[in-house]
């Protein structure tokens, strides 16, 4: 499922450096500087959080940081919009359950 596009008739993709990052403790690879959501999607990860009220699965939706669907916990900070937050080496990304906690 998903993955990066290897060959495109029109576009050539200039990806950033390949970096490792972690989702709920598991290691994945993505390109530095590109949105976390792009890397998640390419790795087949679609569910980013559980909604506040009904616990419904939520994921990527608007891609422009405007819809609140893609909140995750990134390096311990909840409610990070992963669709517009650039990926960095070693980032720790977690599925967010409900409101999120600050401790």
């Amino acid at each position: 499922m998903g993955g990066w596009i290897k060959e495109h008739p029109i576009l050539s993709f200039k990806h950033g450096r390949k970096v490792k990052f972690y989702v709920d403790g598991k290691e994945y690879e993505g390109y530095e500087g590109e949105p976390i959501a792009a890397a998640l999607h390419a790795n087949g990860i679609k569910v980013y959080r559980r909604s506040i009220g009904l616990g419904r699965p939520r994921g990527f939706f608007c891609a422009v940081g405007k819809c609140s669907s893609c909140f995750m916990i990134v390096n311990g900070v909840p409610n990070v919009r992963v669709c517009i937050t650039p990926l960095r080496e070693g980032m720790r990304v977690q599925t967010q359950m409900g409101k999120g906690e600050i401790r």
């Binding site: 506040i52 900070v77 409610n79 409900g98 409101k99 999120g100 906690e101 600050i102 401790r103």
Partner: protein, 380 residues
């Protein structure tokens, strides 16, 4: 729309809806509430909705604790959740003189049966572990203080009133009050005339304009206050944090968001409701100093509301002597929501029997003419 009613209430905020509900509950069901916009769209819906009994005058203490007692059973009484959270108010003093005053307040409160107390910094940190107590010289706390949802509460009152027969008209603006021979005859609205012998002015920041319809001048003026709210997180802070010298109030609501505000040096005295960046930044600085570990919390919305100010920052309650049938419940100066349940009840008592279960004579608007202003030391 009804063409006549026993009582017409102008204003669909907490005051108007609580007066209407209490009237109907006491048997007077031929009541109309006029709201120029929608229920709770004015000051009520914009407020931070703290509720407390930690006051510095006997009158406010009595009203405060009586209101809390009503709040405590209100969800049940009205048949709808009002979002009550009794995490207490944690009052923080940063000056010795202020702490002395808080202690005097506690003594007064205790004498009136309010179980507030002076607490230590350690106890304060137990209540709110993330609190930075630096610079604080003392704390007081009352566990029954707290917060309710102003929107849910007002809608609950409105719905309960409607079930008892009250009519609530949204987008219906009072444009005049007909007075004949010193008696109220009816209210003119943008949708026609309603004849009535009793009008209650619950128009909040517009109370002066509404009183003028009946030829009465009351010294209420609007003052812009600002507020902001954050995204929700799991509960980390139980009490409302409040300080008079620190000039802030901050509360985590049951929903998880933090709501907060402070008073700038000078408030805009108009009906304008623009937000300012000065407040946004100023509030953020206060918050981060107080709760540094929550500096990653995000503001999702800021807005402004009008305090309905009276010259001594105390409500104007009661009948208007020059115009028979004209009543005022306004001028709450920032505390209208927390007093709403009790003043709604008292006003209904006054209208129906001429007596009130808590004496409110000193809150008559005549106090300004008589120069008998009230001095409440416990306000932000």
């Amino acid at each position: 729309m009804k063409r006549s009613a026993e009582v017409v209430i102008i204003g669909g905020g907490i005051q108007g809806c609580a007066v209407a509900y209490n009237l109907a509950k006491m048997g007077c069901r031929d009541v109309v509430v006029l709201e120029k916009n929608t229920i709770a769209s004015g000051s009520t819906g914009r407020c931070a909705a703290g509720i407390r009994a930690q006051w510095g005058t006997e009158m406010n203490c009595r009203l405060g604790i009586a209101s809390i007692e009503i709040f405590e059973n209100l969800s049940e009484e009205l048949g709808a959740d009002i979002g009550l959270h009794q995490g207490g108010y944690l009052m923080i003093a940063y000056r010795e003189s202020e702490f002395e005053q808080l202690k005097r307040n506690v003594a007064l409160q205790n004498s009136l049966g309010i179980k507030s107390r002076v607490i230590s910094a350690d106890e304060a940190k137990e209540l709110c572990p993330l609190l930075n107590t630096e610079g604080a010289v003392g704390f007081t706390y009352h566990h029954r203080d707290g917060h309710a949802d102003p929107l849910l509460t007002t809608f609950a009152y409105a719905e309960a009133a409607k079930r008892l027969g009250v009519e609530i008209y949204s987008f219906t603006e009072a444009v005049g009050i007909d007075v004949n021979n010193g008696k109220v005859r009816g209210v003119r609205t943008n949708r026609g005339f309603i004849s009535t012998g009793v009008v209650v002015n619950c128009a909040g920041p517009y109370a002066r304009e509404v009183a003028a319809f009946a030829g009465v001048d009351i010294p209420i003026y609007p003052e812009r206050h600002e507020i902001l709210v954050t995204e929700p997180i799991e509960r980390v802070s139980k009490p409302m944090l409040m300080s008079f010298s620190g000039n802030f109030y901050i509360q985590q609501r049951p929903h998880g968001s933090f709501i907060m505000g402070y008073g700038p040096e000078e408030h805009l005295k108009s009906h304008a409701l623009n937000s300012t960046w000065e407040f946004l930044e100023g509030m953020a600085r206060k918050f981060v100093r107080l709760l540094p570990r929550l500096s990653g919390l995000r503001v999702v919305r800021q807005w402004a509301g009008s305090y309905e100010m009276s010259p001594d920052a105390q409500p104007i309650l009661g009948r208007v002597e020059e115009v028979e049938g004209f009543y005022i419940s306004a001028g709450f100066s920032g505390h209208g929501f927390m007093f709403g349940p009790i003043t709604g009840k008292l006003m209904a008592e006054l209208i129906l029997s001429g007596e009130t279960s808590i004496p409110i004579d000193m809150l008559s608007y005549r106090r300004f003419q008589r120069g008998e202003l009230i001095r409440e030391p416990a306000v932000v």
